[in-house]
């Protein structure tokens, strides 16, 4: 690829040296096969990856996962680590939808037990889990309680009876980012989030009922309680309007900061401040609040999904209970320790459209997962496979414990809507045995599989380079979206 001076340093591992552009501080690395590399060169994503190498305090290299595509500032699929205390934190490295993430719930049921009642179940899920742009939830919280949501995330939900202790244990970071301080969340962000707890939102957010169709590691699946033919549920959503406003607020505010401190950046969406500066800390505390909001959101949705299963299946199946397998974030900045050139460094690891993939024995994993490593949930595009992966020791060594997050878009929403008609897509899904409840045909068209990369290809790359390993493959049987 002459345009970007890409060198294939090993199979599916590409690097752009820092000599390529004057302002690069470190190399840029992309994990991709030739098809994904070709797709990445059709938008601004490689340019954006190179731009991230200019961030002050960046260590080792800027990384991009095989689902890379164009974002704001950082490419989606980007991973950047900066060394504390002077290394920067950048809101664009987290994304507008702070703590957009995925949760996997599992049942004791096999698909055949649930098929006769699938339409009823889908209807209950659609009714109980508000979806769509601007969807409002049914919780009305006083300011002090809303503060508790922002400060404590899933722990607030546990106190309100929306969670079980096991749900928190099997959530990244226990469902609570420490140090979150509502003082730094603007009144505007609070306004936007206040009515949205327990709502799904729109776009590529969804609830999906899946069947486990392939098991790749029997022993690890047994630890996680997964079996072939099992009914499982994925939730994909984030921090709604609150997260968007927090990102907006600080991208706006940091425009002044970088100018004041003569920080030169190639893109205004890359604005940043040193992690330990007052401004950097304020963003981190606000980001933590938005992240906790998203954990609480997914937790309330979990509660509603459990209730939906009860409503649709009580008296019809032997056991409709759901337990939590894991919950991951794929838009986040975390303070973590990693080995860099043989030294343990405290880093601010930005993962935007990338998932933490901690290997066996890594800190912060529940006791039951110490031997397996951390589950990584990779939702495919609508109607296609999703994957459950596990983090590896190699991901800790190569990518600051990170891997891909999903399929990655190849078509804009507008192009997708022009190419695909929502009603036809709905029929196609139903013909394939997938029950659909969607609030908007245009919204459905935007999420057509044609608009996304092939998730199997993305997963094959991360497995091939060793930064994740395959555990199970899921196929949808019902899709609920706004």
């Amino acid at each position: 690829m002459p345009k970007y001076d890409l060198h294939e340093i090993s199979e599916n591992v590409w690097e752009i040296p820092p000599t390529f552009r004057r302002d690069m501080r470190v190399p840029a690395r992309l994990y991709a096969d030739s098809t994904l590399l070709q797709q990445a060169s059709t938008d601004q994503s490689l340019e954006q990856l190179i731009n991230t190498t200019t961030l002050p305090g960046i260590v080792e290299r800027a990384l991009a996962m095989p689902d890379i595509h164009q974002g704001y500032g950082f490419p989606i699929g980007g991973v950047v680590a900066t060394a504390l205390p002077d290394g920067v934190i950048s809101p664009g490295g987290v994304g507008y939808d702070i703590n957009c993430g995925v949760r996997l719930l599992a049942s004791a049921l096999a698909v055949d037990e649930i098929r006769p009642y699938l339409e009823d179940l889908a209807t209950a899920l659609y009714k109980n889990c508000p979806s769509g742009v601007g969807a409002r939830g049914d919780l009305r919280l006083q300011d002090s309680e809303f503060d508790r949501v922002l400060r404590t995330g899933s722990e607030w939900a546990l106190g309100r009876g929306y969670a079980r202790p096991q749900d928190l244990e099997f959530t990244e970071q226990g469902g609570r980012i420490d140090g979150a301080d509502p003082e730094f969340v603007s009144p505007r962000a609070r306004d936007r989030g206040r009515d949205q707890i327990g709502t799904l939102g729109a776009g590529n957010h969804f609830i999906e009922v899946d069947s486990v169709v392939d098991i790749f590691d029997e022993a690890c699946c047994e630890v996680l309680g997964l079996f072939a033919g099992q009914v499982v549920i994925q939730i994909h959503c984030g921090s709604r309007g609150l997260g968007h406003q927090v990102c907006q607020d600080f991208v706006g505010r940091f425009q002044g900061y970088v100018r004041q401190h003569n920080i030169e950046l190639p893109d205004r969406e890359l604005v940043c401040a040193p992690f330990e500066s007052r401004e950097g800390q304020e963003y981190f505390h606000a980001m933590g609040c938005a992240a906790n909001f998203a954990f609480a959101n997914r937790q309330v949705l979990t509660h509603k999904i459990r209730r939906s299963f009860e409503q649709a299946l009580a008296g019809r199946v032997r056991n409709f209970d759901l337990y939590q397998v894991y919950d991951v974030a794929h838009n986040m900045a975390k303070i973590e320790e990693h080995l860099v050139d043989g030294h343990k460094l405290k880093l601010c690891v930005h993962r935007k459209g990338a998932t933490r993939a901690y290997g066996p024995g890594a800190p912060g994993l529940p006791a039951a997962l110490q031997k397996t490593g951390q589950p990584v949930l990779i939702p495919g595009s609508m109607g296609t496979s999703s994957f459950v992966l596990l983090g590896t020791k190699k991901s800790m060594e190569q990518t600051f414990g990170s891997t891909c997050h999903g399929a990655g878009r190849v078509l804009s929403r507008i192009k997708a809507r022009k190419m695909v008609r929502g009603e036809i897509l709905q029929r196609r899904l139903q013909d394939n045995g997938i029950v659909v409840r969607a609030g908007s045909m245009a919204g459905l068209a935007e999420e057509a599989p044609e608009a996304y990369k092939d998730v199997s290809r993305v997963v094959d790359v991360v497995v091939r380079v060793g930064i994740a390993k395959k555990l199970a493959r899921l196929q949808p049987i019902a899709v609920i979206k706004g």
Binding site: Y72, G73, Y96, R188, H244
Partner: protein
């Protein structure tokens, strides 16, 4: 009718802040806007009167944020052209 005022570091930031302000007000108060009357305008400050309509239901906008991505304001002959990317 609403009178609003926004500030910005420069013209470009002012434009983003202005559009984000409209987005917030529209979402918060369930309003759409038809016209505006500029009361004061400089590269760093804009004060204007907005005329609009209260809607019965949440305004079905898919715009989630106004970004700085590819942001540009250029003079083209006697006219001004702006490029703004919104997150949908």
């Amino acid at each position: 009718m609403r009178e609003i005022e926004v500030a910005g570091l420069d013209r470009e930031t002012l434009l983003v802040n202005w559009l984000n302000e409209l987005l917030y007000l529209s979402e918060r108060f369930q309003e759409t806007y038809e016209s505006l009357e500029v009361l004061a305008f400089s590269d760093q400050r804009l004060r204007a009167r907005l005329r609009g309509t209260q809607q019965a239901a949440p305004v079905p906008t898919t715009v989630k944020a106004v970004t700085f991505h590819n942001l540009a304001i250029r003079r083209v002959g006697t006219e001004w052209m702006a490029t703004v990317v919104v997150d949908v």
